[in-house]
Subunit: 424 residues, 2 copies
């Protein structure tokens, strides 16, 4: 029995998959504070032109630039692995596969969008990127991408994670990036939250406000977003595309696809190319999105227009949200501490194509430990949400006898998150 | 151009390669304090019977047990990668390949021998293993192996590394292993060093003394060694065997092979199967072993009989040594802080088949940073010694125009060693 799919270069996609032209309806467009749709001119104050084009395109296939594809070749395709040991221990008729995005330089799926974003910035003659990061996976990926394309980088890192994962700062510094704990005194947005609470743990929404504020005040810099936007979901689609070819190589096809959700991008990455196959009548698959109970955007939030950041500096997006002011407790899965959800993922939840569930930190870290002991890969706390759901589904299969083929996204490794397992 | 070799299961060896029957002469046998060769009965107080058999066998091919091979399948074959970016930046005619042993659960080559050692212990009805660890790679690998085969584990971790890399303890604890900073008060050996210096940084030699002392006093436990011994070199030979097939798949053959050396096992692993090809007249290859200048066993030590540990509890081995009492300064490459060298590696150095060189910590960490920025893989401080030598050799090739094919062993990742790069 094969356990690994091939890592041959032929698997690496030449185009991104755009789910939008296949949807029965589109999410309503982002709007300004006056309620009218924002045009590309609003976005151009924040993003390079290539990113705006990726944000609005309705082409079903979008070419990957040669420069970006060369950078992808350093670490892609990522391996697809069958969890044979886990299947054995769970005594399940289910087959469990995982796409492992943690083998790359930054240790997570985030490089998939960091590279095109840095490339587009450099192409527009921009010299500096400013961004936010939660647990540090995004900041790490972007620091490598900026290093490759010759850009400076400033990262506002959510304070709770900054304190929990100090080595992420070291990693970003190694690649030439600067890191500031958020909320910081460097911006008005940050200062206003620090005034209320000098020990404020921060949130992704606040860190986004700080990054956006800096970019709006500067000319030669741009903003980069690690999740949520249509363009980011587009870039992550290479995960699902590779998975389709790799599952084929393994002689199977998934009946259930599982991913964790914070802003929604790793989930979109593995799911959207398969959702295209469902929407075109070529497959039947159950999609499960797993979020933390303390930040239950999809399971308890409302679908409405809301700001992407905490201070109301971004346009409003139609998305499931807990309110832009929501500050989740400082759980170890810092990358899932976001009040909103990608509009495209939100729309698919509304259409009934994605089932959201919420798990406690205790449950997911337990699953992460189990996975480490059995499969021998130490997962990021974010990714343990997907693992816990895959295990639950495989146990269900044991009870029902159903021959499920489960595929989940193991979005990143947990070597820089080990303290999460220590303190658990 | 292919960048990755296949990870298909067909590459995984079914037998270890034993270099001993191919050598023109054998290293003198280990001796007791009276100078006469030690027999298997001395070894059986420390090691399971399977390990003793692997230590003394003269068969050229030694079968890998099915149980061990099943465990290898979780992470092997490891990838062989061509460093195309590094070649480009160095502007060298050399082709640079690396075998990356850091993708496995424990993050280094150490799992290759941890698994058979734990398997042989369990097979003999032993319930507990005691060992030493330097930087923690060996302790991590053995904790996973013990977890797999149902054994308890006690690890004496060199204090300098215990303080530098606290998350290694967390990692070993996660797998059910216990960790003690060495020298400790738990043993007479440890106590005697602590008496001289309560802040003693420790050394691999001292930690080995502590582990051996514990095992000699107990019945149902055994000792495991992470490097040095013939059996460990035998187990690591799967690295070189896979490399031969993977280089073939890439359509090339190495003209130079480079590895870092502490006890010598990762170097032996990649080199010995190729040395067999040289000894049988099928190849011509330059072999380079790189050690730290502050622990210059091969470049400044003497070839003589010496104890494997600091307190004289083990047999004496014919090896290059700095003296069993030598305590190197607490460099970040804790895995290379050993006073001796594998007898087989020592013997091949004496025969002139391996060229040893020594590099400073400053130089190797600089090379590690460069590699991280260019190739996007964060190496362990030990492995950066091999990287630095590969870079030097590639730069030489640029000057001479020589079309070298360099292969080096990237023995482990540096995610748990990030502080090394921070403090540099």
């Amino acid at each position: 029995m094969r356990r690994f799919s091939s890592r041959g270069g032929a698997l690496l996609p030449t185009e991104y998959t755009n789910i939008k032209p296949f949807l029965p309806s589109l999410p309503p467009p982002p709007v300004g504070t006056d309620g009218s749709p924002v045009g590309p001119e609003v976005l151009s104050a924040l993003f390079p032109s290539g990113m705006i084009q990726h944000e609005i395109t309705m082409e079903p296939r979008v070419p990957i630039s040669d420069q970006v594809r060369d950078a992808y070749k350093v670490y892609r395709p990522s391996p697809l692995i069958r969890a044979v040991e886990l299947e054995r221990v769970l005594d399940t008729p289910a087959h469990i596969y995982y796409k492992y995005e943690g083998t790359n330089p930054a240790g997570s799926h985030k490089s998939n969008t960091a590279l095109p974003q840095a490339y587009f910035a450099a192409k527009d003659g921009i010299s500096r990127i400013t961004t936010e990061t939660g647990a540090g996976q995004w900041g790490s990926a972007l620091s490598q991408a900026c290093n490759r394309f010759g850009l400076d980088l400033d990262v506002f890192m959510v304070r709770a994670s900054y304190l929990q994962k100090p080595l992420r700062k070291t990693f970003i510094n190694m690649h030439g990036g600067k890191v500031y704990a958020s909320p910081s005194k460097l911006t008005e947005s940050g200062g206003s939250f620090l005034e209320k609470d000098p020990e404020h743990p921060g949130s992704l929404g606040i860190a986004i406000s700080e990054a956006v504020e800096v970019v709006l005040a500067e000319k030669r810099s741009c903003y980069s977003l690690g999740s949520v936007s249509d363009a980011v979901c587009l870039h992550q689609s290479i995960i699902g595309q590779e998975s389709i070819l790799q599952m084929e190589e393994m002689g199977e096809y998934p009946t259930e696809i599982i991913g964790c959700v914070g802003g929604g991008s790793n989930f979109a990455g593995i799911a959207f190319p398969f959702i295209e196959q469902v929407l075109t009548g070529n497959a039947e698959i159950k999609f499960t999105a797993v979020e933390p109970t303390v930040c239950p955007t999809l399971t308890e939030g409302k679908l409405k227009y809301d700001f992407g950041d905490a201070s109301g500096l971004t346009p409003k997006y139609m998305m499931y949200t807990l309110g832009a002011g929501f500050v989740p407790p400082p759980i170890h899965a810092g990358g899932l501490r976001y009040h909103g959800m990608a509009p495209l993922v939100s729309h698919l939840v509304k259409l009934g194509m994605i089932d959201p569930i919420a798990y406690t930190q205790e449950k997911v870290l337990e699953a992460g430990k189990k996975f480490t002991l059995i499969e021998g890969i130490l997962p990021a706390p974010e990714s343990t949400h997907a693992i816990a759901a895959a295990i639950d589904s495989a146990i269900d299969a044991r009870r029902s006898g159903e021959e499920k083929i489960i595929l989940f996204n193991l979005s990143g490794h947990g070597y820089l998150d080990l303290a999460a397992y220590e303190n658990d």
